[in-house]
Symmetry: C2
Subunit: 405 residues, 2 copies
């Protein structure tokens, strides 16, 4: 082929450069978990709004708290019910965690350091001034930026947004991804299975990966290896943010995706990457919609999705443009020197007591073997022309399970 | 108080011992991602179903493949369209990746090693026998167990189940969790905010945590600090698998949850745990439904949820009974010796190039401060009576973000 191989990193940065985050939508606070914030969450109030007690006990003037002093209990300040009066000399107010410290009081006598009488209380341990009082604004003050835009919201951040008085959140809408599986030989799971056919697995695995990445998948009907069928299917992806195809991206006579879409306005960016598994990969635009054409082999399709589709989905969804994260591991088997293609080897992971991963690549790396892929902890990354690596070498790995993949 | 403190591990194992996994439901394959499998996925077919070509090229008899031999092309075998005849001496069949190897052929001549003529093909590189053929059953054979019961399904496993011809999956239904926030002082985000009141954050943070753990949350109306109100709210949790309350679990006069529920058939298991933050914690059963009573402090409530509620949700959902996972880290600050309570310190995380975490506990650990909790990487675990630990010490941490919390 005349088309030169291009490097993995260049391919990814060219794909990401063509993508813009999708717009925002308003969701209720309770729908916000896992969504990507499109505007900062700013505190709408000060928390706590006033000085409050951190414990159950009595609010009083520290100078009145000497052991044995009998104080008159003039009222109560449970959380939510501030005491309206003022604590004077020789007086105390019964107080509970979260209750507002009444005017005049400057410390809290813990209830375990007090003996309650009939309308009175006696200290058994002198409280120091300012003890057990949470100052107004200890947690945050009105106007503070509490959660930055562009973060995937955690449960803690949902709680913080609630405490800051936000019933609504502005988040990026979920990107819409159309998935088109092509091939004469594939049929849907459970459907009649003529001789020579295989069950379609790519579209469903990709839809799950899309969902795991916070986007919505539209699984288009399978297109047979026919230009018109592929063109019709691709046209039904209108309104989506990304079109993903699988199959038909190779170099044989049955590689029809490009041929089918070119007359309809498909513009090709590149399509051969120095990568294993997954060399044939189409990137381009179809009527303004970004398109990613993945290989038909299920292992190649999933590995390419992790390397290209997940970063693309994150970028569309409002997260920063970045390659998929890798982490360090120790090699569990000798590896020969690598050729000119970046390699992603399916490997079993084991973790020691210190959390270190030993990654042992499977001896057979055939890109049709889904079972090994499903059983693997992740992928060992091998750079182009990497020298032979003996067992024990430091390597970088992609932890697939942590991605929900 | 007469009630003795009980240890963290004992508390968790007592909670988990009272829980049984919820029942199963049938979901479509495309709904299966992230669900917990309730029955193994067994291969319904053999994959590949026959010997197939791994490449595009020509199927022939290896003995006919010597360089320069001209072979007659007698047919084609694209994927999905097996060649009906037999490959005889001096013959070849055009074949594509995934196409069935025709009877008589025993190797694949790669198309890049072949020169196609008019109805003929000439080898430019002799193929070895059995090259580029994927044997029937290379990936899996009918009857093989491909995914074990009790696993949270990944995108890869969805793909594998599809390839094994399963349009449906048997998964545990999502546990239903009722969340009841109590307190006179709390109001819903965005609602009118009388003096002394604070915005309710626990219920929403817990609902997000419940969702992050694969369960469904029912957020009950806030109950004021009144026995009847609490009792009425708890009764509306009927049909749930777990009732979680926040607030009212402490030792003050306003701790009404137990008092409210006891007349209605609440049986108490234990309620004080040697734990910080979070000592007051109720575990018991309300009319046969397990109940967990969390502290009202938002930080305590979230930390206790990570330690007790997530393991409970996993167990209810069909995963093994196990404590929350910890991982090794290096301490970023000197810590004093610990007292008799297990401590979970909010800490900033930083990761070095090797992926090692340095965890630096915040100097202020007040359990009302949601902002520090939201900003923390996770929690540093300090065992009861742990000796002073200098900066650089090895510690175990809970990685909150990886839990979606």
């Amino acid at each position: 082929m005349a088309t030169p191989l291009i490097a993995m990193e260049e391919a990814l940065s060219r794909i990401l450069a063509g993508l813009r985050p999708v717009g925002a939508e308003t969701v209720s606070l309770s729908e916000g978990w896992g969504r990507i914030l499109a505007a900062p969450v700013t505190a709408r109030l000060t928390q706590p709004p006033a000085d409050v007690s951190a414990m159950d006990g009595y609010a009083l003037r520290a100078e009145d708290g000497a052991v044995g002093t009998v104080l008159r209990v003039v009222g109560a300040a449970p959380a939510g019910h501030p005491f309206a009066g003022r604590v004077g000399p020789g007086e105390a107010v019964r107080i509970f965690t979260g209750g507002a410290v009444p005017e005049g009081a400057d410390t809290i006598l813990l209830q375990e350091d007090a003996v309650a009488g009939d309308g009175s209380v006696t200290s058994t341990e002198a409280p120091r001034p300012a003890r057990h009082i949470r100052r107004a604004g200890l947690d945050f003050a009105a106007g503070d930026v509490l959660v930055e835009s562009g973060r995937r919201l955690t449960a803690r951040e949902i709680g913080l947004a609630a405490a800051a008085n936000h019933p609504w959140l502005l988040v990026h809408r979920r990107p819409r991804v159309a998935i088109l599986a092509t091939g004469d030989e594939i049929v849907l799971p459970g459907d009649p299975l003529p001789a020579g056919s295989i069950v379609s697995s790519n579209a469903h695995a990709l839809a799950a990966l899309v969902r795991a990445s916070g986007a919505d998948a539209l699984v288009l009907p399978i297109a047979v290896d026919d230009r018109d069928a592929i063109a019709a299917a691709a046209e039904s992806a209108g309104g989506c943010d990304l079109l993903v195809t699988t199959g038909g991206a190779s170099v044989g006579e049955h590689d029809l995706v490009q041929a089918a879409l070119a007359p309809l306005g498909f513009t090709l960016d590149f399509w051969k990457i120095a990568l294993r598994p997954g060399k044939p990969l189409i990137s381009g635009h179809f009527r303004g919609m970004p398109m990613l054409g993945l290989p038909g082999n299920p292992v190649s399709a999933l590995v390419c999705s992790v390397l290209f589709l997940i970063p693309a989905l994150r970028r569309l969804g409002g997260l920063p443009a970045a390659p998929i994260e890798t982490r360090p591991a120790v090699l569990g088997r000798d590896l020969p020197a690598n050729d000119h293609r970046q390699d992603y080897l399916r490997a079993a992971f084991s973790r020691d007591a210190e959390g270190r991963i030993t990654a042992t690549p499977f001896p057979v790396q055939d890109s049709s073997m889904l079972r090994f892929l499903a059983a693997s902890g992740g992928l060992v990354v091998r750079a182009p022309h990497a020298p032979a690596a003996p067992v024990g070498s430091a390597v970088q790995v992609v932890d697939l399970s942590s991605l929900g993949v």
